[in-house]
Amino acid sequence: MLANFFEYEFLQNTFYTGLLIGLIAPLLGTFIVVRRLSLIADALSHVTLAGIAFGLLLEKKYAVGITPFYTGMAFSVIASVFVEQLRRVYKAYQELAIPIILSGGVGLSVIFISLANGFNTDLYNYLFGSVSAVSRADMWMIIGISVIVLTTLFLFYKELFMLSFDEEHAVVSGIHSKRIHFLFIVLTALVIAASIRIVGVLLVSALMTLPVAASIRIAKGFKQTILLSIIFGETSVILGLISGYYFEIPPGGTIVVISIIILLICISVKRLWFTLSRKKAIQ
């Protein structure tokens, strides 16, 4: 594998991109999970699919050379703005935004896919991820997105943290909650678009939530939760890519399965630790 890695550019692209999304997806995912927005990531990823299908349609029918990656990203960012509007319209039923956006995304995808005369390998790769689909240009784009995400989170960490914990308190203290929230949801759309090449539309939200679900069981505090999420995310991506490559399985599947194994280990460890410390306390 190591020899192949140095020989083939596409493997290098995939590996570097994988490392980046293994970092940014769980990092942003920690905020998503604690704000109980896990399903929004799922909804946005389906809209991204519609954007990708739209891009493929343009390519195939009209020979317009916009990469589906960019149309996917554009759809995702636009949908993120709609999510915010819908959450404001249905204040008491904020989760309604999710089925609306999600079904809208799937509906549009079906229309665009049919217009483009059905499935092809490209689309299959977008759905489940691929070890060979990342081009040099994609990689640079994802590096750019990562830089934007990391810089923004670094600069607004304390405000985002406060907003996630207690929105009312944040607003009373004079934090611009609407603007920060908007920034956050756009970042989410960008990270989803970036991750899709590797893990695929259907499983992208898993990479944002499963590592966090595992780390939240055992971490103390928010920073530690982030750190462990990233470690779990990177482990899943690296092992998932290697096994996906060897067994010729789309890496989306292997990454998610490894994430779930890590999650189960964390739950068991926590339970064991609980039982032991209870025994100790009783003695």
Partner: protein, 251 residues
């Protein structure tokens, strides 16, 4: 104990079809400890929200520290512990240190980071509420009374001059409520923090507060606890809109 740090003049506020506050004239003097009591739906929380700038009065004016509220920028001078503080997401992975640090977020400002001094302030505030040994524990692992102390520490860390507490003892057991009032008393007397406490517990307020304010859409009473306890039961029933059993605490 003289100059008013809050003054409301002829304030009116209505929700869609409900007149929540009528012609409120109200002052908070520096150094006082005000107990704001009244029936449910009497507008206590609305009044607090007006003071915090969450709601805007439909008529009348509010001054904070001598500045009209719409021009007021110094929100760090006002600390707030909400009713909701005990209904936060208990599974949220944040340590006591991290929770208290949020009290400084707005003061530190955008694009700036916590320094060593800030971290020291956080530790001091936690020590002040007697919770130092829990500094690196998850907030969700603490009891209700302990969590409430942490939320007090969060509002103290930015050195407020006025602390507003909206029914902070709901869901806290009796023994811890007592400790909680001792802490408030200490903050008021020794740290010279002005307190506005919204509560149902009239009995405890008469022993701790310097002023009692009764609110049921309009301001029914504003005076010291002695005057308050001299009110006849009739006065109170009229104000509450129904007969009232006053719980008295004899210590």
């Amino acid at each position: 104990m003289s100059k008013p740090i809050v003054s409301m003049k002829q304030v009116n506020y209505a929700y869609e079809n409900k007149h929540a506050l009528k012609n409120i004239n109200f002052e908070i003097k520096q150094g006082s400890f005000i107990g704001l009591v009244g029936p449910n739906g009497g507008g206590k929380t609305t009044l607090v929200k007006l003071l915090l700038g969450i709601l805007k009065p439909h008529q009348g004016s509010i001054d904070l520290f001598g500045t009209p509220i719409h021009k007021f920028k110094d929100w760090n001078k006002i600390g707030f512990v909400s009713q909701k503080a005990n209904s936060f997401n208990r599974g949220f992975p944040a340590t006591v240190h991290e929770v208290v640090s949020m009290g400084l977020t707005a003061k530190v400002g955008y694009f700036k980071f916590f320094t060593k001094e800030h971290k020291q302030k956080i530790a001091d505030a936690v020590e002040h509420v007697g919770m130092s040994e829990y500094l690196h524990e998850n907030i969700g692992d603490l009891s209700g009374g302990q969590q409430q102390r942490i939320f007090i520490a969060r509002s103290l860390v930015s050195d407020p001059e006025l602390l507003i507490l909206d029914e902070p003892t709901v869901g806290v057991d009796a023994e811890n409520v007592q400790k909680f009032y001792e802490l408030l008393h200490h903050l008021n007397k020794h740290k010279n923090i002005t307190l506005l406490l919204v509560t149902h517990d009239i009995g405890t307020m008469t022993r701790n507060a310097t002023d009692i304010v009764c609110l049921n859409k309009t301001l029914h009473f504003h005076g010291n606890p002695l005057e308050f306890s001299n009110l006849s039961e009739n006065d109170l029933s009229e104000f509450y809109g129904h007969p009232l059993n006053l719980v008295t605490h004899n210590h």
